[in-house]
């Protein structure tokens, strides 16, 4: 039989078989059947040697053409199979995107820690640094040095817990202000510090009082520090902490260790509409402040004509309650997981 004819027939047959093949395996078998060492094309190619010199190139070319065509066809079909079986495989790996993820367990910093860091960071950004001091204090540092000698009526502003300490007048500090004294006794101005820490009062816990809570104290002492500087600083703080739209109000007040003294209010979140939190006044009291009293400077040996300064103090729990809407101060030390997890 004419080899050309055989090739044509082979081509037809192969096309039929290849295009109906159902699997990769069938295709591999067909590859062997046609293109293998003993495959039909190979067999034909072997016969070419026996042909005449003029037929040889014609049949040879045709055979190569058919072989190449077959190879391409099979490769093409194989690729299609592979692709579809890969798709099958992917399909089988379908995930339910609605099942909950495996969230790595994460704890939380206590809301008070978060609030302290938030406040401290605002003052760090202004160039302040952080000072700390003991929670067990001497009567001298907590009161006397802060312009409250024994029997001073202002001492009654704080209900104090005293310690059994023969020979020493020890107490649990009622405010972070004694750290002012400790820092100024050690260093000369300029002083720009904030002092976070626990403070103590002989108060029974209720929705707005605790015997243990946190304060942040600030102290700025240098030449030429003014009351206007105090105002600007606390306005900057209040707007960073509570929002740029907040207004700040200063009311005269009294603290033995500052003069002039002020209570500072920030405008309420109700925008003056009047709400439960501000009791309808439109203002929230957030801190106490004032110019450092010259007597305090005398006590630490600063020249009170040369230096002026301001100090301020705020209750961290109160700030957190206002900022995060916490309704009862006892929640901070109750440590209920359902509270802690919210922040």
């Amino acid at each position: 039989m004419d080899l050309i004819f055989q090739l044509e027939k082979l081509k037809e047959e192969a096309l039929a078989l290849i295009s109906t093949a159902q699997s990769e395996k069938e295709l591999e078998d067909l590859r062997v059947k046609f293109l293998g060492r003993k495959g039909e094309i190979t067999m034909i190619l072997r016969q070419i040697g026996k042909l005449s010199a003029e037929k040889k190139p014609i049949v040879g070319a045709k055979a190569n053409e058919v072989r190449d065509w077959l190879e391409t066809l099979i490769e093409d079909r194989l690729l299609r199979f592979k692709r579809s079986s890969f798709e099958e495989k992917l399909k089988s790996e379908l995930v339910d995107i609605t099942l909950p993820g495996r969230i790595p367990r994460r704890g939380r910093k206590h809301l008070i820690t978060q609030t302290i860091e938030e406040i401290v960071d605002i003052f760090l950004s202004l160039g302040y640094w952080v000072a700390e001091g003991p929670e067990v204090e001497t009567d001298y540092h907590n009161f006397t040095a802060l312009n409250m000698p024994p029997h001073h009526p202002a001492r009654s502003l704080w209900d104090t817990l005293y310690l059994k300490s023969p020979g020493e007048d020890l107490l649990l500090r009622t405010h972070t202000s004694p750290v002012q004294i400790r820092v100024m006794q050690k260093e000369k101005p300029p002083i720009f510090i904030v002092v976070p820490g626990k403070v103590y009062r002989r108060d029974v816990a209720d929705s707005s009082h605790l015997p243990v809570f946190h304060q942040i104290e600030g102290l700025a002492v240098d030449e030429g520090i003014t009351f206007a500087d105090l105002k600007g600083t606390l306005e900057f703080f209040s707007q960073r902490m509570f929002g740029a739209d907040k207004r700040v109000r200063f009311r005269p007040s009294y603290f033995p260790f500052t003069e002039p003294s002020a209570e500072v209010d920030v405008s309420c979140f109700c925008e003056g509409e009047g709400c439960r939190v501000c009791k309808g006044s439109g203002w929230l009291e957030i801190l106490g402040a004032g110019m450092v009293d010259p007597n305090v400077f005398d006590e630490v040996g600063y020249n009170n004509e040369e230096y002026t300064g301001f100090a301020f103090g705020m209750g961290v729990e109160r700030i957190a309650m206002l900022k995060y809407g916490v309704s009862d101060i006892r929640l901070f030390f109750d440590n209920d997981l359902r509270f802690l997890e919210q922040f």
Binding site: E135, H152, L170, T226, P294
Partner: protein, 798 residues
């Protein structure tokens, strides 16, 4: 301090509303804590005359009253009270009236007769407890006017928060002076000119001051033919509004004048003053007095008393004695208006745990110049209200008259401190309006003379504050200081923030507990391990006996926190706290920071993806080691310990070098029972200062370029041998050993009695070459040999 608006208005002309005044006062330093309108609960109640009373047609219990309410018209009401008669003027609640408590009155039918309203008792108006009958008003009361105007309810009550330095504002006059300065008005003082009899008080009363340091001034007036009776309604009303209980006209006037002037007064029944002699002296130790509160007080030598010739008749400046109390039979009254030293009164009040309106004022300082005015004012009122005859002259012991303080004030300094240029003229105006005398000296300063009623003004800075208050704090600009010397957080502060981040990232929740400690827990704690030689720091005046010491450890607070959470069904707790602990050791007081960790439950509850696994010792140990590793510590070790609050066989101490960092273990099962835990509780407490100080800085090591060789080995050893000992031997024996992992520990079936199987994966790696099988084999052989000879370990087939 509570004061009625109408009272303030007597002393200064006020043309603004109560609300506006409250705002102005608050912004100038007289804090208004609350402001309330007294008549807010009353509406549509008018004065009316009872024209005719006739029986109710259908019942004997009720009457019909024909009422004339003037411009409000005539009406008929049904009434059941029996204290009324025709012609009486009474309060009439008409249709749509509201009474305190939200009670609404309307036109309605009562037993078949229409009643247009209701006649009202004092109790129903909320002005007294008297509900015995209808309120009968004075017969000259106009009819048809709002009842609130008649009974003083058309008024506002100011509640002031007076700061300890402003004793002058503990009287109406002091606050009125602030208002006058604020509004630019004049202060009007109430009248105090007394009609006197011929008889000189000083010829009847003798006053002797034995302690002039404690009592630098004693003024007194003698009143005769005093008629003691209830005070008039207006006076009682003002006292009650101020929170004081009316007693009788004499006592009430002393209180009234105290509220006006801030000067406490006391009235003695002069007939009870033995020898007609007042002696101001220190008490004898053990001397007793029954005070007006009915309690007996034992006095000592530091207590100042007012005595007659033999015994105390008052605790000076604090409270009068029962023995000389003014009562309805009193006819002769000695009015005391004295000045006592604040420190003496503070000490006495504290020692006796007794305080009063008087002691409160004396402690804060009262004007020594004000005693005579107050005595005169009280005598003036009693002459009117008690028909008293006032004896001639004030007995006034005042050996060292007050020297007015003078302060040098520099307007330039004030502007500098405040950060705003304020004119000297404005400053002078402020001082003048506050009753201070101003004398210009030269361009740079003025001299300000301070009256006795402002003891708080001592220095230039105090005057600068007055300028700022009246200029207005909110008129001063806002600036930021130029800050020098910033140094950020120190290394410990940075480190502690990072430590918290690490713990939080590892799934632990930060908690905060009170720093208190129940001393009854100490027998389980003190004397062991980190608590050996530790003594508690105790609170002298604790709030609760269970909180009467400072915590020497964080763990009990953490245990309570876990307990509280479990009781609320919050499970799977992994908590930490960083806080101070307090103790004494070798007589030295310590305050140190600790990290406490507590685990209870498991890392997570069972869900579709994870099984529940209860916490065990190694979870706790893992957290501890996470912290140590994060601080680049390597050579830590554990030692057995014997803390009585921990499980005896599940606890250890952890050391870095020779430094004890803390302990870890399971809460003692006995305590778990005491605390009613059904779950195991795992606890650790570490000295974070020690960790901070031991921390290492990482230093770069070349990353190995040659592949590691792994080798698994499994040994059979006696159960009692700690795996850590095996590990230590392996690490000490093998060279090129990069790391060892304990990948299996097995006890139980298929193993000989008393044995366990421990499997290790050894990673060998060299920095300089690929290790050959031969070299690895040699190292493995060394390990097998060492374990076998040291621990009798038998190599198992892999």
């Amino acid at each position: 301090m509570k004061i009625l608006f109408s009272w303030l208005k007597e002393f200064v002309e006020i043309e603004i509303s109560a609300e506006e005044l409250a705002e102005k006062l608050s912004l100038s330093g007289t804090a208004v804590e609350s402001l309330s309108y007294l008549g807010g609960d009353i509406r549509n109640v008018y004065t009316a005359r009872i024209v005719k009373i006739s029986p109710h047609p259908n019942t004997d219990q009720l009457f019909l009253c024909q009422m004339d309410a003037g411009s409000r018209g005539k009406m008929q009401v049904v009434c059941g009270a029996s204290n009324i008669k025709e012609g009486d003027i009474v309060p009439l609640a008409v249709t749509e009236a509201v009474l305190p408590g939200g009670i609404k009155i309307g036109r309605r039918e009562i037993r078949g007769v229409i009643s247009d309203g209701m006649l009202v008792s004092p109790a129903e108006l909320g002005i007294s407890e008297d509900s015995s009958g209808i309120m009968i008003l004075p017969s000259d009361t106009e009819v048809g006017i709002d009842i609130r105007k008649v009974v003083g309810m058309d008024d506002y009550l100011f509640e002031f928060e007076i700061m300890p330095n402003r004793s002058d504002c503990l009287g109406v006059i002091g606050i009125a002076r602030e208002i006058a300065a604020l509004l630019g008005k004049n202060l009007k003082l109430p009248p105090a000119e007394v009609q006197e009899t011929e008889e000189w008080a000083s010829e009847i009363v003798q006053v002797e001051i034995l302690s002039p340091n404690f009592c630098p001034r004693y003024s007194a007036r003698l009143l005769k033919e005093v008629k003691v009776r209830p005070s008039p309604y207006w006076l009682q009303f003002r006292l009650k509004a101020a929170g004081l209980r009316p007693i009788n006209n004499v006592v009430d006037v002393t209180n009234y004048v105290m509220l006006e002037t801030g000067q406490p007064l006391h009235a003695f029944d002069f007939s009870c003053i033995g020898g007609a002699k007042i002696v101001v002296r220190q008490a004898k130790d053990g001397e007793k007095i029954v005070a007006l509160d009915g309690r007996e007080y034992v006095l000592d030598n530091d207590t100042l008393v007012i005595a007659d010739e033999k015994e105390p008749v008052a605790i000076a400046g604090v409270m009068g004695g029962k023995n000389s109390e003014v009562n309805e039979n009193t006819t002769e009254v000695l009015l005391e208006s004295a000045h006592f030293s604040p420190i003496s009164i503070t000490k006495t009040s504290r020692r006796l745990s007794l305080s009063s309106e008087a002691s409160y004022r004396f402690e804060r300082g009262v004007s020594i110049e004000g005693t005579v005015y107050a005595a005169n004012r009280a005598a003036y009122l009693l002459a009117d209200l008690a028909s008293a005859k006032v004896c001639r002259g004030v007995v006034d012991f005042y050996p060292v008259p007050y020297q007015k303080r003078k302060i040098i004030f520099r307007p330039g300094r004030a502007s500098m401190v405040l950060g705003k240029k304020i004119s000297a003229e404005e400053m002078k105006r402020v001082f003048f309006s506050l009753g201070l005398q101003v004398e210009p000296k030269d361009e740079t300063y003025i001299e300000v003379t301070i009256p006795a009623f402002r003891p708080d003004l001592e220095r230039e800075i105090d005057l600068i504050e007055e300028v700022a208050r009246f200029h207005g704090y909110n008129e001063i600009p806002s600036t930021l200081p130029r800050i020098r010397g910033g140094r950020g957080l120190n290394s410990y502060q940075v480190w502690q923030r990072q430590l918290k981040e690490i713990l939080v990232g590892a799934g632990l929740m930060e908690v905060m507990n009170f720093s208190f400690f129940n001393p009854s827990l100490s027998k389980r704690l003190l004397g062991y391990g980190t608590f050996s030689g530790v003594e508690l720091v105790e609170i002298a005046n604790p709030i609760l006996i269970t909180e009467s010491a400072l915590r020497p450890t964080l763990i009990f607070g953490l245990i309570e926190t876990v307990k509280r959470n479990l009781s609320r069904n919050n499970e799977n707790l992994s908590l930490f706290e960083i806080g101070k602990v307090f103790f004494r050791k070798k007589g030295e007081r310590k305050e140190e920071e600790r990290l406490g960790i507590i685990l209870c439950g498991g890392w997570q509850e069972k869900d579709w993806a994870n099984d529940f696994r209860p916490f065990d010792f190694y979870d706790l140990k893992g957290v501890v080691e996470l912290i140590l590793k994060a601080n680049q510590l390597r050579k830590w070790k554990y030692k057995n310990s014997n803390y009585p609050f921990l499980h005896p066989f599940r606890q250890a101490e952890v050391y870095v070098g020779d430094r004890l960092l803390g302990f870890l273990g399971e809460l003692s099962p006995e305590l778990e029972e005491d605390f009613d835990f059904s779950n195991r509780v795992w606890l650790s407490e570490l000295d974070i200062q020690a960790i901070f100080e031991s921390r290492q800085t990482p230093y770069f090591k070349e990353i190995p370029r040659f592949p590691p060789a792994l080798f698994d080995l499994s040994f059979l050893v006696d159960k009692g041998i700690p795996v850590g000992d095996l590990l230590k031997t392996i690490e000490e024996t093998a060279d090129h050993l990069k790391k060892v992992i304990v990948f299996d520990v097995y006890e139980g079936r298929n193993l000989p009695e008393g044995k366990k199987s421990v499997a290790f994966r050894l990673y060998f790696q060299s920095a300089s070459k690929t290790l050959s099988d031969e070299m690895v084999g040699k190292e493995v052989e060394k390990v097998v040999h060492a374990l076998s000879s040291e621990f009798n370990a038998v190599l198992r087939k892999a």
